[in-house]
Amino acid sequence: MKKAKQYLEGCWHAYFGFENTKVKVMLPLYFLVCLFFVCVFVFAELLLDILREKPQEADGIDSVVVVDNVPQVGPERLEKLKNVIHKIFSKFGKITTEFYPEADGMTKGYIFLEYAAPTQALEAVKNADGYKLDKQHTFRVNLFTDFDKYMTISDEWETPEKQPFKDFGNMRHWIEDPDCRDQYSVIYEAGERTAIFSNDAKEPITAEERARWTETYVRWSPKGTYLATFHQRGIALWGGEKFKQIQRFSHQGVSLIDFSPCERYVVTFSPLMDTKEDPQAIIIWDILTGQKKRGFHCESSAHWPIFKWSHDGKFFARMTQDTLSIYETPSMGLLDKKSLKISGIKDFSWSPGDNIIAFWVPEDKDIPARVTLMQLPSRQEIRVRNLFNVVDCKLHWQRNGDYLCVKVDRTPKGTQGVVTNFEIFRMREKQVPVDVVEMKDSIIAFAWEPNGSKFAVLHGESPRINASFYHVKNNGKIELIKMFDKQQANSIFWSPQGQFMVLAGLRSMNGALAFVDTSDCTMMNIAEHYMASDVEWDPTGRYVVTSVSWWSHKVDNAYWLWTFQGRLLQKNNKDRFCQLLWRPRPPTLLSTDQIKMIKKDLKKYSKIFEQKDRLSQSKASKELVDKRRAMMEEYRRYRETAQQIYQEQKSIRLELRGGVDTDELDSNVDDWEEETIEFFINEEIIPLGDL
């Protein structure tokens, strides 16, 4: 600026300081120079403005997507490819630019598309990623900026911060109870209180009791390690000696849960959480880490659990229309990356002993209905059984997977009625032979003996309900051992150890109970728990609990404890009792040999236990006797004091009653008058005959 000024001054001096003519020439020149500088200034200003609005690099790139797995084509098919791409991708917005990089005359296999706005690019990524163009080409769509993001991840691996170790103590603490008491959970006061008791034949011992521990009900994990409680925001798992909170899973509005048999995963269902983009209706969680492993859609929770687990927790499967989807853990991905197409599949279930799925398909034109047993993961069909004129099938596995019973309802040709067959698959024998048991009545209930080869059936129509017991013998025959008729029963409850069972007439049948020993099919005891709604065996098969839940009946809410033989031990009334669940036991750590040894020496062990029982019995009576003595003494003392005061008040009493002593019933004997009255009762004329 200064120089310019000097120059101007110089010009001025040069111009005006000298002859006029020079000025005349210099003045327009000076003017031009001024103008020039002014223009420069203005231009600079404008330039700065324009520079400010210069498009940033990022703006353009946010709207760009990269599409991978695009077919590599030569120039002759390029036009067609471009049309196809355009058709697919213009759905998400306006494509402003497209770039198909080439190499050696073919397209490289990936392309760049630019949209009018970044939101459109996002749409494209969301919806077109994973689009299957054909068998060999599945599009992968990403935002261009994402590449940038991943490129800038540091090469240095930062070890994640170490979380402090949360010690929950001995998670199996309850199993170490020296008296081998099993625990059970009780929900009462209409859900306000939940308590955990240790089961003792004399009376339950409280282990833990909390108000509002759960908002609806509780569930134990399959091996008894965790107690799950339900809340509006999700579920919580509790365990260890003091039932501390182990883990929490956030799933708004959760209503149902299921555990994997190995207790590694828990599946939660909430009817609220499903959105199209983000399947959240069913979530599978890893219990130990608390991580969400995978989410799934769910149309309805009608048949919970939707996902059925294999016995070892390696697989879980679900059935949708014409499809069976089997997933493996821990990847949570589909086995062999695809679902099985089984047209018309109606139902399936896992063997509780092996990784075998049984499923059935109804009749389809000429193809008869059939039950198929499929081995996993090989997907080999190890047995197929054709069935004719089928109305419905139900699959019942024996607890160890030794047998499968398929209850088949059929309408034989030429008849109107429905007849039921039991198709018994012998899983442990070569080529899985099938035997059939025909049933003439309608079936009310069916149950396998948990670790044996017997099953029980309730059939007939009320009031003529029969209970039949069958034995599946090794020689290929299925023998009817015994049938009890005119039973008041609608449910079968086997002891988890087998042999013993309870036939119960729950709810509408007013709680009739029959305790049966199936080794010789005798009725050990017939009893009743009026209006019983549930029957639960303890995990050892020693005790049975029958209960009247407040959820089904509003009075007499209580749970009764019986021995396995049907002897009533306790009646526990609980205000608005709702639910009792035994805590499951983990599988035994003893080997089969060790168990054999114990059974051999059982007499020795039972002596020790009997002695212990006797001691505790007498201790209990002694406690009770002491308690009673103390109560009586206290009462006596109170009565004595009261009597004293009473005596002291005698004069007042006499005064109030005008001198008449009424303290004892016979206080006024002197005042009593005795009167003898004669009544005519009877007249009898006795002829004496001739005197």
């Binding site: 009075v555 007499d556 009586m632 009462y635 006596r636 009261a642 109030l656 009653r657 008449v660």
Partner: protein, 274 residues
């Protein structure tokens, strides 16, 4: 004119006092049956009784149709009170109405049980509340005294009956059941109490309608343990009472029957191990 809710006679059975849902309390001559006095009230008379001397009567009226619950006292030695229907003392009960009441041992106060489970001791002279006890959580259905009036037992809808000292209102014992207790009585000669109950009338059909499922239950007064039950009623038991000689008891029920039971000799010899 309508249901008679309460009846009491004085100590030498000269007079009988009755209270009814026809809004009146009447005094009768026991021998002749002649009505001696009529006291009209604004609402049903729920409970009534003579004091120890037989000179003072009390009765309580229900909270009905806008009228409060009152506990009224009349002195029979002053005929003017009866003529003018002016009690010498009338205590209003603002909150829960009185459902059952008994006199204290010397006629100085009345122990009243309320709809909310409270028991209040009202002075018969001044009307003030001398003592309070809040042990029951639901309505008190019945209160009966021991034969010497030193204690009373309250039967409540909260499935328990409780034993109290009449003067101090000290809570002495509790007897627990699973059904609402409608009535309870104290044996005059043994350390026993008897209780009778059942559910709400509307829930009756949901219980076992098998013969005689409604039982009178006997508890040991000191141990608070049940030791016996007597079946026989077809419906909930509304009232129980021991005979003054303690050798029998009677019970009245919703089924319309009054049952009288005489105790076997074993009853008097029975003892719980202690």
């Amino acid at each position: 004119m309508r249901a008679v809710w309460c009846v009491d006679c004085d100590w030498d059975t000269k007079n009988v006092l009755t209270g009814s849902a026809d809004n009146s309390c009447r005094l009768w001559d026991c021998e002749t049956g002649k009505q001696l006095a009529l006291l009209n009230t604004n609402s049903a008379v729920r409970t009534c009784g003579f004091d120890f001397s037989g000179n003072i009567i009390m009765f309580s009226t229900d909270k009905q149709m806008g009228y409060q619950c009152y506990l009224n006292f009349f002195d029979l030695r002053d005929p003017q009170q009866i003529e003018d229907n002016q009690p010498y003392l009338s205590i209003p009960c603002n909150d829960a109405k009185i459902t059952s009441a008994v006199w204290g041992p010397l006629g100085e106060f009345v122990n009243a049980g309320h709809e909310n489970g409270e028991i209040n001791q009202f002075s018969a002279k001044s009307g003030e509340i001398l003592k309070k006890a809040k042990e029951h959580s639901r309505q008190i259905n019945d209160i009966q005294t021991s034969v010497d009036l030193t204690m009373f037992i309250s039967a409540s809808k909260d499935n328990t009956a409780k034993l109290f000292d009449s003067t101090s209102l000290e809570h002495i014992k509790t007897f627990k059941t699973e059904r609402p207790v409608n009535s309870a009585a104290i044996s005059p000669i043994m350390d026993h109490v008897v209780m009778g109950g059942g559910q709400e009338a509307m829930e009756v059909t949901t219980t076992s309608t098998r013969i005689g499922k409604f039982e009178a239950r006997f508890f040991h007064a000191a141990y608070e343990e049940e030791f016996g039950r007597v079946k026989g009623h077809f419906g909930p038991i509304n009232c129980v009472a021991f005979h003054p000689d303690g050798k029998s008891y009677s019970s009245g029920g919703e089924d319309g029957y009054v049952r009288i039971h005489y105790f076997d000799p074993q009853y008097f010899d029975f003892e719980l191990e202690a």
